[in-house]
């Protein structure tokens, strides 16, 4: 069943050096085009351009929502109508100044989105789309039924804006008035995508569980983006009502929502630029079809242009899922060969000094993590049956056992990916079982994954930057107004470099993460986790896929982290490596703890020896099936939003 919500393409993140100059240039060209367009184009085309700008604002919001939150709103017109009605009411009935009214009207649209979003964004899948579709119907019903809102005839008499004795009443004048608004709207949207929030949500689209384990509160960020996207629609409604002078229940009409959606999809969900390009393309298509169809089919009346919308919408998704922006990008990519990653590794050799110590960390030896009688059942299968242990600050603790012993299931329950059937998990004396992974991360604890969960659509650097999510603070607002967040971005850049150097990936920083060989992807996951500066680090089979040299380096890295006071919990198959590295070892077999002690004790424990000798191929097979089941159950739980 299609349960993922990945958009066809995602907003580009972690740009390379070439793009750093391309973007300001793009904005400069855009500003220039906005200025000259009304001078060069005939008035009818400028008129189309005005609508493209108005609707384009709403489409930018939708692109943010679909590209970042991976959710569709089929009711963008509802928020558009709320903005338009709000503005019309305030301006005509209460004589509120235009700009003040606009702020209130946009706020109103965002408030409605907040009320709808709070319950709905907890759920994934189709619910937001269908519920926003319903919202459009509700707004139409309310507007039609309410005499206060002018019932079917709506509100009219909203004047064209006036500033400094100048009336913006011709298409060209209004186009120029809107231009700076659209320019700023686009800039803000771009900053959201490129900033901390955009990076985190992009990561969610790649791997929700990994992003959550790095402290990303998916629900909260998605809700914020939904509210912002509604704000964009509200702003478009304000611009609309001052141009037309009237607003009636048709403003919330479903076809308008489809039109917004088409603008975003046709332009390309990969970039907020797509929304503006799409808006102009769709408005021209709209104009063309409205005049063409009645000449072809005399007697055709009503919203006949919809047929073109439907066909284009379907065709774009089937044939060019990246939209116009995607086509542009692949054209550029063909012209420009990407530079290969240079330099192997920059590891400080034979250095055993403590790493990543931080003031305020619990003193070595104090209990940090406590697991009490943990049980997890899947249907009739008991994967973990009553496991208890304790991990202390500044130790390396290993969890070993034959295939299917329940090691990864334990990790999943500790890190909040799975809720235990029974038992409890305590971190620093606080009970955390059944909470979401981002709660675990906020308590300075994180993990890596046995089956890799790297963020495939970004670079190595982009992956580690997500690990800094909790160590940086720029919210949506601060990220949107780029200047204050700049310094923080520089700090993130700096610490990402340092973290990459720790695992020897500094030379690969700008490579797409998906291009790394398997073993280095493991190291990348560890770097990403270290970027969080955790006190407790869970590593699920970190040695798998590493060469002998890499294993030795990783072992030294872990010792240095321990010296810095970090607690490290390992699940590992390489028993010899574990016994050489760990301070204490717990052995699981068949979901039960059969031994717990120092490596020396474990080496001679008869129960452990029996368990390891008893493994045969059949059991290895069931383990695979079980792992599969665990992953699916985990995904299901996240999807249902259990225990948030």
């Amino acid at each position: 069943m299609a349960d993922t919500t990945n958009p066809p393409t995602r907003p580009a993140r972690g740009g390379t050096a070439g793009r750093r100059f391309a973007e300001p240039a793009g904005f400069a060209v855009f500003a220039l085009l906005l200025v000259v367009f009304p001078l060069l184009a005939p008035e009818t085309v400028v008129n189309v351009g005005v609508y493209a700008l108005i609707y384009g604002i709403a489409a930018i919001g939708l692109t943010l929502l679909m590209g970042l939150a991976g959710q569709v709103s089929l009711g963008q017109a509802a928020f558009f109508a709320v903005g338009a009605y709000g503005q019309a009411l305030l301006v005509t009935r209460y004589q509120v100044p235009m700009v003040v009214a606009a702020l209130v009207a946009v706020g109103l649209a965002m408030l409605v989105a907040l009320l709808v979003g709070v319950p709905l964004l907890r759920l994934r899948g189709h619910y937001l789309a269908l519920a926003t579709l319903g919202l459009g119907i509700i707004v139409t019903v309310v507007a039609t039924e309410s005499d206060y809102l002018g019932a079917t005839s709506g509100l009219y008499g909203i004047g064209k804006p006036e500033f400094g004795g100048r009336r913006y009443d011709s298409p060209a004048e209004y186009f120029w008035l809107l231009s700076p608004v659209v320019f700023l709207a686009l800039l803000v949207a771009r900053n959201i995508v490129a900033g901390r929030v955009g990076r985190a949500l992009g990561a969610v689209n790649d791997s929700e569980v990994a992003a959550e384990c790095l402290g990303v509160n998916t629900y909260r960020l998605r809700l914020q983006v939904f509210v912002v996207s509604a704000g964009y629609a509200g702003l478009a409604g304000v611009a609309f009502v001052h141009w037309i002078g009237v607003v009636n229940p048709n403003a919330a009409n479903f076809p308008l929502s489809v039109e917004f959606l088409l603008m975003s999809v046709l332009g390309g969900l990969g970039s907020v630029w797509g929304a503006i390009v799409g808006a102009f393309a769709v408005e021209l298509l709209d104009e063309g079809l409205r005049s063409l169809i009645p000449t072809l089919l005399p007697g055709a009346v009503g919203e006949v242009q919809l047929i073109g919308f439907g066909v284009v919408l379907t065709a774009v998704i089937l044939f060019v899922p990246g939209g116009i922006h995607g086509m542009w990008r692949s054209m550029l990519a063909r012209l420009r060969r990407p530079a290969p990653g240079i330099g192997r590794r920059v590891v400080s050799d034979e250095d055993d000094s403590p790493l990543l110590a931080r003031p305020g960390r619990p003193a070595p030896g104090t209990p940090l993590l406590e697991v009490r009688d943990l049980v997890r059942r899947f249907g009739g299968v008991t994967a973990v049956g009553g496991v208890s242990f304790e991990v202390r600050a500044g130790e390396i603790f290993a969890l070993i056992g034959p295939n299917g012993a329940g090691k990864t299931t334990c990790f999943n329950m500790i890190s909040g990916v799975l809720a235990p059937s029974e038992g409890s998990v305590w971190l620093r004396g606080e009970r955390i079982d059944g909470r979401k992974p981002h709660v675990f991360a906020r308590a300075r604890a994180t993990r890596t994954f046995q089956n890799l969960q790297i963020f495939r659509s970004t670079t190595v650097r982009g992956n580690v930057a997500v690990g800094r999510h909790l160590r940086s603070r720029a919210g949506l607002l601060r990220g949107a107004l780029v200047l204050p967040a700049r310094r923080e971005e520089r700090q993130i850049h700096q610490s990402v470099e340092e973290t990459l150097a720790l695992v020897g990936l500094a030379g690969d920083a700008d490579r797409p993460a998906a291009d790394l060989p398997f073993g280095r992807q493991r190291l990348l996951e560890i770097a990403r986790a270290l970027a969080l500066e955790p006190d407790l680090l869970l590593l699920d089979e970190p040695m798998a896929g590493l060469s002998g040299g890499e294993r030795r380096e990783l072992a030294r890295l872990l010792r240095r982290l321990r010296a810095g006071g970090m607690a490290v919990v390992l699940v590992e198959h390489d028993v010899e490596a574990v016994l050489a590295l760990a301070d204490r070892v717990a052995v699981l077999d068949d979901g039960r703890l059969i031994a717990l002690g120092t490596p020396e004790e474990i080496r001679h424990d008869p129960a452990v020896l029996a368990a390891y000798l008893g493994v045969d191929d059949d059991e290895a097979l069931t383990d695979e099936a079980l792992t599969d089941e665990v992953t699916r159950a985990a995904a299901r739980e996240l999807a249902n939003g259990d225990g948030a």
């Binding site: 069943m1 299609a2 959710q71 569709v72 994934r124 269908l130 319903g134 919203e303 439907g310 998704i317």
Partner: protein, 289 residues
């Protein structure tokens, strides 16, 4: 009391139509995870085709068959052209694709039949009054045909080999492939079933509720709400969900304000999703269909 009975009858009758649409949602969703936003358009299209067919002199039963067949073909073509080619279907893609088809279908109906709504000739039978309640013959047709269809669909999924194979696809895609069930064929079949159910809803409803190019929008949303009430994966749940929604709407329209009729579905949807996203009417013992 008479008022209440009258409202209940009207509610059950419109609820039966929602039930049929809801079963169409369930049929497709369980096999491919796609919410078909064109489900309401299937109903509108069937109504309009039947109206044109009777208008051109065909007897009613022939017109009905023609309408249903047309919609089944449209649904199958839709699956072949827009759903089948997509290799990795995501929620976002499925919403945009089916929305595109639904929009194109709407506009095509607008071009062919114009903006006004039409009503199909009622099915044979005389209206009568029973204990003060006006009973339209068409209500009885709607209830009887919906009941028969629901039983037939349940029997199909629970008793026949083909139906069980479809259920297997939904629950264990890999296992289904292993025993030789083609997911692509199952998806095609599920669209054809959804087309059939939507078309039956459309022709039954048309004499009472009219058919227009854009009547599929609200009908589709309400069918979805009904299906969600029943947990989205259960035919029995969809039946119950449709009836509950229809009665609720009718009571709100009768006792509160008729203008609020269309708001009920949305409010119910929000409440259900907040209270119990798994569906309120779904029992755990009920088999997934």
């Amino acid at each position: 009391m008479t008022d209440l009975l009258q409202l209940l009858l009207a509610g059950v009758s419109v609820g039966a139509v929602y039930t049929l649409v809801a079963m169409g949602f369930v049929a497709i969703y369980t096999v491919s995870g796609v919410i078909n936003l064109a489900q309401g358009e299937f109903a509108a299209l069937a109504g309009l085709v039947a109206i044109s067919a009777t208008g051109s002199g065909l007897p009613l039963p022939v017109a009905l068959l023609l309408a249903i067949l047309t919609v089944v073909i449209v649904a199958a073509v839709m699956q072949r052209v827009t759903i089948a080619p997509v290799k990795r279907m995501t929620t976002l893609l499925s919403i945009i694709l089916t929305l595109g088809v639904s929009t194109a279908l709407k506009a095509a109906m607008l071009l062919i039949w114009g903006p006004e709504g039409h009503g199909l000739t009622p099915f044979p039978g005389t209206d009568f009054t029973l204990a003060g309640v006006a009973v339209r013959a068409q209500y009885l047709w709607i209830l009887a045909v919906t009941a028969l269809t629901a039983v037939a669909v349940t029997w199909f999924y629970e008793r026949t080999l083909l139906g069980k194979a479809l259920r297997a696809c939904a629950e264990q895609p890999t296992a289904a492939r292993l025993v030789g069930i083609s997911i692509a064929r199952a998806s095609l079949l599920s669209f054809a079933i959804a087309g059939l159910l939507g078309a039956v809803a459309g022709v039954l409803a048309s004499p009472v509720y009219f058919s227009a190019w854009d009547s599929g929008l609200a009908l589709g949303l309400k069918g979805f709400v009904a299906a969600t009430l029943g947990g989205l994966v259960s035919i029995r749940g969809a039946v119950a969900g449709g009836l509950v929604l229809g009665v609720l709407e009718s009571l709100v329209a009768g006792y509160v304000d008729s203008g609020l009729r269309d708001a009920v579905a949305f409010i119910v949807l929000i409440v259900v999703l907040v209270v119990r996203p798994g569906g309120v009417l779904r029992q755990h013992s009920v088999a997934r269909v």
